[in-house]
Symmetry: none
């Protein structure tokens, strides 16, 4: 049911991986997320996958290609691809408000990231630290998403249900709080149990209040 959020299963399909190559793929995700790309040797990956080291390089030209094969699918999903769906939903409801729109979007993003938090961890790190990978990833993020995102925000601002700040700032407020939540609970993982629905509601409330225009 939640397979719509499982990114790498899809990647495995489209890349036509053999069973052993799937093991390599999954082992790489496991180890990269655990100890970082630079700190994981191809030998370790092959051992974790129960496969010869050479097998890695049959499918993946080199270690970086393996990393990109893991990360690229995410770049196509990392921004909501049908933002207008959310805004339309809000309109259909008749009861047009920012909260409903954001609630839908935030939950969608959280679901996506939850099911791919290991890849997300790898992604976040490489995106910040490896300029080369940073550039390659930026390129592969669909331009369409950016455009849509801006259109929706501009529309909301025009209707005066969104504060009139720069779109990039608004985007950062969204991203910071969603990612902050996810990083705390899924990446740093010190905390054992928590009331997820409640916290998500808090996040939504927090963002909605923060982005509502002051009268």
């Amino acid at each position: 049911m939640n397979d719509q959020f499982n990114i790498y299963r899809e990647a495995e399909k489209t890349e036509k991986l053999t069973p052993k190559q799937k093991l390599i793929f999954q082992s790489a995700i496991e180890l990269f997320s655990e100890r970082g790309y630079a700190n994981t040797s191809t030998k370790e990956i092959s051992e974790h996958a129960g496969v010869s080291e050479g097998s890695i390089f049959r499918k993946f030209k080199n270690k970086e290609e393996l990393l990109m094969a893991i990360l690229t699918p995410l770049t196509h999903k990392i921004l909501p691809q049908d933002l207008d769906k959310f805004s339309r939903t809000a309109y259909q409801n008749g009861n047009l408000n920012l909260k409903y729109f954001l609630t839908t979007m935030i939950n969608d993003r959280i679901s996506l990231f939850k099911y791919n938090h290991k890849i997300m961890k790898i992604f976040l790190n490489e995106f910040i630290y490896d300029q080369h990978i940073h550039d390659r990833l930026i390129e592969s993020i669909p331009k369409k998403s950016f455009k849509q995102f801006n259109e929706v925000l501009d529309d909301l601002k025009k209707k005066q249900i969104l504060i009139d700040w720069d779109n990039l700032e608004i985007f950062r407020f969204l991203a910071s709080n969603i990612l902050g939540y996810l990083i705390e609970h899924y990446i740093i993982v010190d905390v054992k149990k928590w009331n997820e629905p409640l916290e998500i509601e808090h996040i939504t409330d927090f963002i909605v209040k923060g982005l509502t225009p002051t009268k």
Copy 2:
């Protein structure tokens, strides 16, 4: 003037580094932040510092000790060490409100990180990936800060000028938005110029509104 926020100058003092060792120290910060700890060789550090490779290991037992020498001072400063100063300030002003308290604190944190963003960049990465370093750093964060932080928040909540959410959640909202801002502008460094005071005001407004109790 802003030397109060300069962490590594202090580190150099306390560790009693010779001039050459200072060069090593600064070169390591420069290169670790630029290309990551794992991707920086001691050879490169020594060359950047204009020093022989062996000199690194005279002062620092090994590469990791050098890293820890860079990061440890930060752990003592990463949480505000005199939060009550901020709250007292707010009181003294007579005009007690959340915004003033947060404004002071946020600006303080941003100043600290700005003047140490290279170390921060190194810190973020190692904190996420190296369990060993993660643990050492957690230990060295002063317990006192945690306690103080909780006391202040509880006080604010009692006075009903702060929303009644879990302190850790509130902390996360603060941290997420401050770090989000800093990472965007000081670590990812795609953007060239921006209106810093305005953005900081937005951040403060955003957080204040988000954390103000609903009537």
Copy 3:
């Protein structure tokens, strides 16, 4: 027409190669001569031939067997196999002279090498460096050729139309100048166009003059 000089076509016949194996054979010649035996991978050969890598090893036990299959036929032709034909020709002409004999022989050798210069290039390299191949090739050069060669030279010397030097020296003068010409134009391949008949005439003249006994 010039198929008498085409060595590998013959090889293909005698080894009874299937069409795919012919492709492998020709691809190997192409690539070995281009980048050297050691620098050509079986994968590259199979790709160049449009064939699976495994197919190479169906016919050829290993990479070296493939090399030997290419080189061995050359070793049976590398020395003129019917030298007496040349000398007889010279006699029949009635106009017995060294020049006519050498002209015929030199042109014959040049024709042979021209049509097999890729194999020759491979041969020259392996002959020099691989002792194992060196020995195998020396063995497979027909003893008859040596004997014939000596007989012809001795006869010419007796008739005092050839200088009285050691046969091996004379052989080297012949070989050096013929190979020098071929290596320059067919193996080093820097030069674009040249007057082949003229140069061959010069070579012949040069050798004839050099080997004519001084009165």
Copy 4:
């Protein structure tokens, strides 16, 4: 006394090699000439030199740089650098003739190559087979030598003591016969003993006769 012809001793000096690096240098010459550059592993070189493998890469950036360090000095000497010295010698003698000029030059070249036949073997092979190295070597051959060579030949042709063929052809006749001799005796090394002065005299006679203009 003959150290004027020893190229690599000079190389070792100019490159300021440590004793261990000299061992590496000499081992590389030994092994490259014995089994070829491509068939010699850096591990083998280090073992032959009784040194750790890493030591190779302290001085030489990579395997190819090691090869170039061996070959480059030769490229500066491979063509006679003071051809006019030979021609002047011939003139001074009063008894100006082609034979004297060639005798001097041929003996000089043979001496040079004899004392560096291992490097020559490596050189010949890489020059023919590795396009990349071919180009680098061509570049480093001093242009002056080419110019001088042409001037001397043109002068000799004008005085009608040298046949009027293209200079490149004449060069090839010289090179082919000198190299043929050296390759036979110093590189293929099947022959045990031979009368060197006699053979060199034959070579000189052979070339002189071949290049003397026909009346």
